[in-house]
Amino acid sequence: MSLYNIFDIAGSGMSAQSTRLNIVSSNMANAETVSSSTGETYRARQPVFGAVLQDAMSSQRAASKGVRVLGVVESQAPLRQEYSPQHPMANGEGYIFKSNVNMVEEMTNMMSASQSYKNNVEMLNTAKQLLQQTLKIGQ
């Protein structure tokens, strides 16, 4: 019964979107972190999604079975370098490095993730209603 598969698909979507929300919140929490070298500074992270294929042999016929997080990549945008010799984290030349998290980017990312999450929830609810009605056939 393929309506049952929707539970798996919507579940995988919700799981992927909540991972994305998690990463966004981690980025926002670390937006103002400071360090004394480029290697130690927090860089904004992004999840990379990939479709789960049903099986390679019948890819022409079958749809994908949902979505999963393939990995997390760090942003290569330049860090914010500031000259502040009084700062306790300043390096020998008096520079501090702030993370490259872009708050506007993160906010839009968060809204997109929560909308997609809601989409998956609605999809699951509809499938559940259809299944309940199917169980009542002939009554």
Partner: protein, 130 residues
């Protein structure tokens, strides 16, 4: 009058299977709305209907090892949706389009359910004779 449950339900049984398959395909489209490079897919209703109606599908099986022709809606190849607008990451899922299709498909499924229910209740009242 020989009436089997299959001939009673007619095309509505196949319609229910097709709608549930399509719901799955549309659900995976929506789940992959943010997947880079994902191409949205859907059934071509015309070819599904054609597949059900072709008489060539009734192949005689004279040996138990003969493979029966797969006439279910799932045996029809999935097509790729033509995107309305291009996206930077190669994803062709338009969430609004998918949502609308999903809603329509759910309504169609309920319509098929209603037909099946009507057939069954008609059959039951004929059996009871009241």
């Amino acid at each position: 009058m020989a009436t089997t449950i299959d001939s009673l339900l007619g095309v509505h049984e196949q319609a229910l299977i097709y709608r549930s398959k399509r719901a799955e395909v549309l659900a995976s489209n929506m789940a992959n709305a943010d997947t880079p490079g994902y191409k949205a897919r859907d059934f071509d209703f015309k070819s599904v209907l054609h597949n059900l109606n072709t008489p060539a599908g009734h192949v005689k099986q004279t040996n138990s090892k003969h493979i029966a022709l797969d006439k279910t809606p799932a045996s029809v190849s999935l097509a790729y949706r033509i995107p309305i607008s291009a996206s930077l990451d190669g994803n062709t899922v338009d969430t609004q389009v998918e949502q609308a299709n999903y809603a329509q498909n759910a309504m169609d499924y309920q319509a098929s359910l209603r037909f099946v229910n009507g057939k069954i209740s008609g059959y039951l009242s004929a059996l009871r004779g009241d």
